[in-house]
């Protein structure tokens, strides 16, 4: 009797098993949607955001551009209007609203270049950086202070006063040279450089010849 009952139940065994697995598979649907959780862990993201490692100073960037360093890519996250007005040389314009479009991804998500994001200050470029960092894009940097700091340091450097340390003067001369590279012309610079060259030969050469002349003429 027992055997017969057992055999009856067991005749459904595969159906029962299949039912159990279907129920389990149904459970997968109830799992939270993972596309929302895309990206690195929030704790790690906070750690990255706290670190100032992402910043590159305007002097460093100027140095790179002048040395024609081929390893970086400049991305302007401002709108097109500001971009057409003024932007850093050879930069690519990706307005913030187009940041996550497919075309932009080929620029932002690659290993070949260091990507340097910038906006007028570093507020919006930081936001772009955070979103991209969450998506695990690599080699992303942010220009510290953005175009505004770029302007006040590299394009229009402030001359240090006499009581400032020598390093400030060195920095100033670098920045001044950099600004000339980026098209700024200095009236005092063009003046100050040539005169020492011109004056010296003028005075020395004529004086020597004049003295020789009378001697030879006397013979």
């Amino acid at each position: 009797m027992i055997n017969r009952k057992l055999a009856k139940v067991l005749s459904f065994r595969y159906k029962i098993l299949a039912l159990v697995f279907i129920v389990l598979a149904g459970g997968l649907v109830l799992l939270p949607k993972y596309e929302k959780h895309e990206g690195i862990k929030p704790e790690k993201l906070l750690g990255n955001a706290m670190s100032s490692e992402r910043y590159i100073s305007s002097d460093e960037l100027a140095h790179k551009i002048i040395n024609q360093d081929p390893s970086f890519l400049l991305i302007d996250v401002r709108d097109e209007e500001s971009y057409s007005k003024y932007s850093l040389p050879n930069s690519v314009n990706i307005p913030l609203e187009k940041l996550l479009e497919e075309d932009s991804e080929s620029y932002l998500n690659q290993d070949g270049f260091d990507v340097i994001l910038f906006s007028n200050d570093n507020f919006y470029s930081d936001q772009a950086w955070l979103l991209c960092n969450r998506l695990e894009y690599k080699n992303l940097r942010v220009l510290e202070g953005g175009i505004n700091t770029w302007f006040t340091t590299v394009i229009k450097p402030v001359e240090p006063t006499e009581n400032q340390p020598a390093s400030d003067f060195e920095l100033y001369s670098f920045r001044k040279a950099a600004s000339m590279y980026f098209g700024v012309a200095y009236p005092d610079q063009t003046k100050a450089d040539p005169p020492p060259k011109k004056k010296a030969p003028k005075k020395i050469v004529p004086v020597k010849k004049k003295k020789k002349l009378p001697v030879e003429g006397g013979c």
């Binding site: 067991l10 929302k36 929030p42 906070l46 507020f123 955070l130 969450r134 030879e216």
Partner: protein, 202 residues
Amino acid sequence: MKELEKTKRISIAAVLFILVVIIALLAYEKPKHLYKINTEVALNKLLTKDYFVNFTDINNPEYVLIDIRNRYEYEKGHIENAINIHTPDLLNNTNSKVFKELIKDKKIAVLYGSDPAEANMPFMLLYQLGYSNIKILLVNNSYAQNKLITKSSIIGNSVADVTAYIKESQKNAAIKPKPKKKVPKKIVPVKKKKKMPVEGGC
């Protein structure tokens, strides 16, 4: 009997399998923090730019000010009624509770730091974690003689027209480079002229 033995093995395997699944479910620890919105939604929020609070509007009873600078600076001076939550502690259990309670009370957390950019990162993170009641206070905080001075600030604007500045500098300098060309011309003729008379004198 053979048939029975087979089914025994299958059912044992099935039971074991289900047990493993159940143990895995029990052992699964839910991560403390999960993003509630994806990057596209977050970006759309950023583009609306309605997450800024001006310094003049802070007396709104809905707003709860949160100072994200460190404890030392907070104690040195802070805006009245502000709570201190230093950025690295943002995801602590206690602080998460604070934010959750603010949502319950239908209050809006207004973050501020030494400048708006400092509050930017905590804001973005909290927003992506699903705290939709977060805003940024547009202020710069500095100290003068140990007193906190709060000034409202603007972000994202351009301080100067760089192109105009470069053009202007070139214009200013354009008049002066000319002397450069004149001077070298002078040197060359002077030498030649002086040599000629010498030979003639002999």
